[in-house]
């Protein structure tokens, strides 16, 4: 049974009254969602963000049509929440979006979590990518998502995502070569 089928089976179990299936779904995807949120620049209240993602997903499971995988659906919900939060934060601070320098400074808080120096440099290279390149690259390298899955998630095309990924990979390599 592949991951998508496993999720569908768990959803059916939950719909049948098995609350433990919900716990298993959370266990399967929560960390990946938190990682994606963190890579998107979210640093605070990640628990709430991931929790909101699951709550919204479970509250509207009846509308899940399996046109995409359940994982993609979860990431799509999370991405919208992240964007909403950024818009709210932007309005609240009445300022433009964080520039690259701010993003890098914010991400420095995760340095302690990255053990080896090479990984720190790669992370810095990732932070220099455009927002869309970063999303595509992170989803490819951390989750192994297919282009089609990423395209659904970010609202783009497979071809465009492929281009974004290869451009991102080239940029990362160049950064590492220059370092």
């Amino acid at each position: 049974m592949d991951d998508g089928s496993a999720d569908v089976a768990l959803i059916e179990r939950w719909k049948g009254g098995d609350q433990r299936a919900a716990a298993e779904i959370v266990r399967r995807h929560a960390q990946a969602l938190a990682r994606f949120a963190a890579s998107s620049g979210e640093r605070e209240e990640l628990d709430e963000l991931v929790q909101d993602t699951f709550v919204r997903a479970f509250n509207s499971l009846e509308s899940f049509r399996a046109d995409s995988t359940f994982r993609t659906w979860l990431f799509t919900i999370l991405r919208r929440l992240v964007l909403d939060r950024k818009r709210s934060e932007k309005r609240r601070r009445n300022q433009v979006e964080l520039d690259e320098g701010h993003a890098i400074q914010a991400y420095d808080a995760l340095d302690a979590l990255v053990a080896d120096e090479t990984a720190v440099r790669v992370r810095q290279a990732i932070e220099r990518l455009s927002p869309l390149q970063k999303e595509v690259f992170v989803l490819r390298v951390t989750e192994g998502m297919a282009y089609g899955e990423i395209a659904t998630l970010v609202g783009s095309t497979e071809g465009a995502c492929r281009v974004h990924y290869h451009n991102a990979m080239r940029s990362v390599k160049e950064f590492l070569d220059d370092a």
């Binding site: 959370v26 938190a34 509250n59 090479t118 390298v141 990362v172």
Partner: protein, 208 residues
């Protein structure tokens, strides 16, 4: 200096190779390619490093699970059970009310058309219970009461046949005494203390 392998399709398979998302055939193809392509080997290592470079912050799984809505069918089951209890209670109330009305109508409204046993005070013996829908009441000696004009409707409740004039004074007094004891009227509220309902042989019910 890191270079890109010229085989773009092969490079597209590398993330899936790292994450074990390829089919067996694709995995074998990539493995064979990696034997001869240093650029792809370097890219695989870069993908693995990048995966580590984006750490997954710890989240409180237990709290997330607690925040989730309850499984729908379980919730529906609970609601259904609640509805079932309410329906059962309503049916019970209606049934009690209906039996109350039937019993009291048997005493008051349908009495002239019904047949049942009443005590035969003069002899101190009970009347025989009828065993046929239209059988006349047979009262043990000394008085034999018959029902000359029994309704064709199925009977229910207590009744006694014959004219009152056929009763002796003692029987009449006893009957009046019993009627005096039955002053309760049907109430809108269900009765909590009802006379026992005794099935009659004809399928009706008789309250004593």
């Amino acid at each position: 200096m890191m270079h890109d392998c010229a085989d773009g399709d092969m490079r597209d398979l590398l993330p899936g190779y790292v994450h074990g998302a390829l089919s067996a055939a694709e995995r074998a193809t990539v493995a064979a390619h990696l034997e001869t392509c240093a650029d792809c080997v370097a890219e695989v290592e870069l993908i693995e490093t990048a995966s580590r470079a984006v750490p997954a912050p710890k989240v409180n799984l237990g709290r997330i699970v607690k925040a989730l809505p309850a499984a729908p069918r379980g919730a529906r089951r609970g609601v259904a059970a609640g509805r079932a209890w309410r329906v059962a209670a309503a049916i019970g109330i209606v049934a009690i009310g209906a039996f109350s009305v039937i019993a009291l109508r048997g005493f008051f409204g349908a009495a002239p058309r019904q047949a049942a046993s009443v005590p035969a005070p003069a002899a101190g013996t009970a009347l025989a219970t009828t065993d046929a829908p239209h059988a006349p009441i047979v009262v043990d000696s000394p008085v034999r009461v018959t029902s000359p004009a029994v309704s064709s409707k199925p009977r229910s409740g207590i009744s006694f046949g014959g004219g009152i004039s056929d009763l002796t004074d003692d029987q009449l007094n006893t009957l009046l005494g019993e009627l005096d004891a039955l002053q309760a009227l049907p109430s809108a509220e269900p009765e909590t203390h009802l006379s026992p309902i005794v099935p009659m042989a004809d399928g009706g019910h008789n309250a004593r």
